[in-house]
């Protein structure tokens, strides 16, 4: 499962050359989803499993699917329909789970840990629940061994190695591997083969179950963040002792119990 997200003017670090590039593309594959795809491709390389890439999004998300097929995915499915717009986690997970069910027999569903456009990492586990399957989140590497999958996952304070029977959903940690490039030949093949397009009818989902209507949470109001006003007092090198003194007298630094 991949999503196209707006490029957040991010500085990208080239993981091979360790140099900085400012990427300029308008829609990019969500960074963690690139790592999810790479992990899925590695599993496909070893096991020969078929790899299907799905995305729910506007028609232009097709380019992201072509890119994924250019890297080695076998099929690309674009889940697109006006009624899917403005879905929250519940409705998004429902729609994606319906698509996975329609694809049918599967061993693994691989998602990114979270999306950069206000994403929260909730969609992957939501899909797993709808499919009634186990999940392993924040995965850094995985391999398939007979009917089980072995994963290493990263937590705030520990690293875990987990074994669980398939089918299972994995969410993959951002930057956990180096995504391969697409090849022009595979991309041309992908364009020839075409992207499948599914709407709510294809998925047998009533329009009021999905998108805004199917979402339990609503955005009530907007407000401009009330930032605390800060003085931004300009300090020269010669003012530094004075500033340090002020901080000390205010008890910001140096008081024994704080140290």
């Amino acid at each position: 499962m991949i999503k196209q997200v707006p490029d957040a003017e991010e500085i990208f670090i080239d993981p091979v050359k360790f140099t900085l590039n400012r990427a300029s593309a308008r829609g990019i594959i969500n960074p963690a989803d690139e790592n999810a795809l790479e992990l899925a491709l590695q599993i496909k390389d070893k096991t020969g499993m078929e790899l299907v890439v799905i995305t729910m999004g506007p028609p232009q998300a097709e380019t992201a699917l072509i890119e994924c097929m250019g890297r080695g995915a076998d099929r690309g499915i674009l889940i697109t329909d006006r009624v899917f717009a403005a879905a929250d986690t519940y409705a998004t997970s429902l729609t994606l789970a319906a698509a996975v069910k329609k694809i049918g027999d599967f061993n693994l569903v691989v998602a990114g840990e979270s999306t950069t456009d206000s994403g929260t990492g909730h969609v992957g586990p939501g899909v797993a629940q709808f499919l009634d399957i186990d999940q392993v989140t924040y995965v850094t590497s995985a391999y398939v061994d007979k009917e089980n999958v072995h994963c290493e996952r990263d937590l705030e304070d520990a690293v875990e190695v987990v074994e669980t029977p398939m089918p299972v959903l994995l969410t993959v940690l951002m930057n956990s591997n180096i995504p391969r490039h697409s090849t022009l030949r595979k991309k041309i093949d992908a364009i020839r083969k075409g992207i499948e397009k599914w709407d709510h009818d294809t998925l047998n989902l009533p329009p009021d179950w999905v998108g805004l209507k199917g979402s339990p949470t609503i955005v009530g109001a907007l407000r401009i963040p009330q930032e605390r006003k800060r003085e931004g007092k300009l300090i020269t090198l010669d003012d530094i002792p004075e500033m340090v003194k002020e901080l000390y007298e205010k008890g910001v630094i140096g008081k024994e119990e704080e140290l």
Partner: protein
């Protein structure tokens, strides 16, 4: 069995009462995020004269219940099994959902840790409700007990109000570090109910073969943080940052690009994809002040920034702005601290 079905709303919302908190713990102690959530739960519950209900899972919950009690938990519900000492998404979310369906809380608060995020949307789907994630402000309306949650929008340009009007429990997550820690109250009383449970065999097929603790640096509990960014120009710059941090008795932080470049480990990263901190003093050296960094440190009490660029965005978030090369400014700060502050460097020497 979960059906592929829409989020059907209950008919009668009045039967939903109390504020439930999912209690995440390590070695008998609540994690910081769960303590923050208990503090928030007490505030919300007292406003509408309801109770705080804590839910915890694990193999030895007695100490967890004690910890929760001190932080304002009124009812503690625990499910205990040796099989629950390992984290298992399926079992955890199922058991928590069973508690929810039985207790019918009006509100559910889950700290947005990796464990919390892993569980919360499974729980929401099992209990047919919505989740407002990464909230920074919560309030409850006294008349209809509707939770008014606020979360930053994409890019942080606005703060959006998120409501879950027709579904229960009204469920939210917040990043750890979003709220201050509540005071401990050793007199607080709590009704502790711990039940032994057995997991169905198919759920134990998920096995944790190995768990290796990481030396995790908890920036959220630090009083002073000195962070370096790309303006350092190279990995060696962190020596100077480290020196300033140690005379101040503080810890080293960093922006994301310097972490990605391998100048310093990830555990030092502050910001949207790092830790959210609120120290008494935050010093940002060679950091431009992009919003993804700002969201992780803007609640610090005092912010000092050092930047050669007088128009850097960080200026408007600073109490003091030192418009200078950090390699000139930091040695001057170190020198001043050493002469002005008698306690300078003491802790650093103790722990070194």
């Amino acid at each position: 069995m979960t059906e592929l079905i829409n989020c059907v709303a209950p008919d009668d919302l009045s039967q939903y009462k109390n504020v439930m908190v999912y209690l995440e713990h390590r070695e008998g102690h609540l994690v910081r995020g769960s303590v923050e959530m208990l503090g928030m739960a007490s505030k919300l519950a007292s406003k509408v004269k309801e109770k705080v209900v804590g839910v915890a899972l694990g193999s030895d919950l007695e100490p967890v219940a004690q910890d929760a009690t001190q932080y304002g938990c009124d009812i503690f519900l625990g499910a205990e099994s040796k099989d629950l000492s390992d984290f298992r998404s399926v079992s955890y979310s199922r058991i928590i959902s069973e508690y929810i369906l039985k207790e019918k809380p009006n509100i559910l608060l889950v700290s947005g840790t990796r464990e919390g995020r892993d569980l919360v949307s499974r729980i929401a789907i099992l209990t047919k409700t919505g989740v407002a994630a990464d909230c920074v402000e919560l309030d409850i309306q006294e008349n209809d007990r509707l939770l008014v949650a606020w979360r930053p929008s994409f890019g942080d340009k606005t703060i959006d109000q998120i409501l879950c009007k027709r579904h229960r429990p009204q469920t939210i997550t917040s990043r750890p570090g979003s709220y201050p820690l509540p005071e401990k109250d050793t007199e607080h009383k709590c009704d502790v109910k711990i039940t032994k449970v057995t997991l169905p065999k198919e759920e134990t097929a998920h096995r944790v073969l190995m768990k290796k603790e990481k030396t995790k640096l908890d920036l959220t509990s630090k009083k002073i943080i000195v962070s370096g960014g790309l303006g350092l120009g190279g990995k060696d710059g962190f020596k100077l940052i480290g020196e300033l941090a140690s005379v101040l008795g503080g810890e080293v932080g960093a922006s994301r690009p310097v972490v990605d470049l391998g100048w310093i480990p990830y555990e030092h990263q502050v910001g949207q994809t790092g830790q959210t901190v609120r120290p008494k003093l935050y010093i940002a050296a060679g950091i431009s002040g992009k919003i993804q960094h700002i969201v992780g440190m803007k609640n610090s009490e005092i912010i000092v920034s050092i930047n050669t660029d007088p128009s850097a965005e960080i200026v408007k978030y600073s109490d003091y702005f030192i418009n200078s090369d950090l390699y000139k400014a930091i040695p001057r700060i170190i020198e001043s601290v050493k002469t002005i502050v008698p306690e300078a460097g003491k802790t650093a020497q103790k722990s070194a």
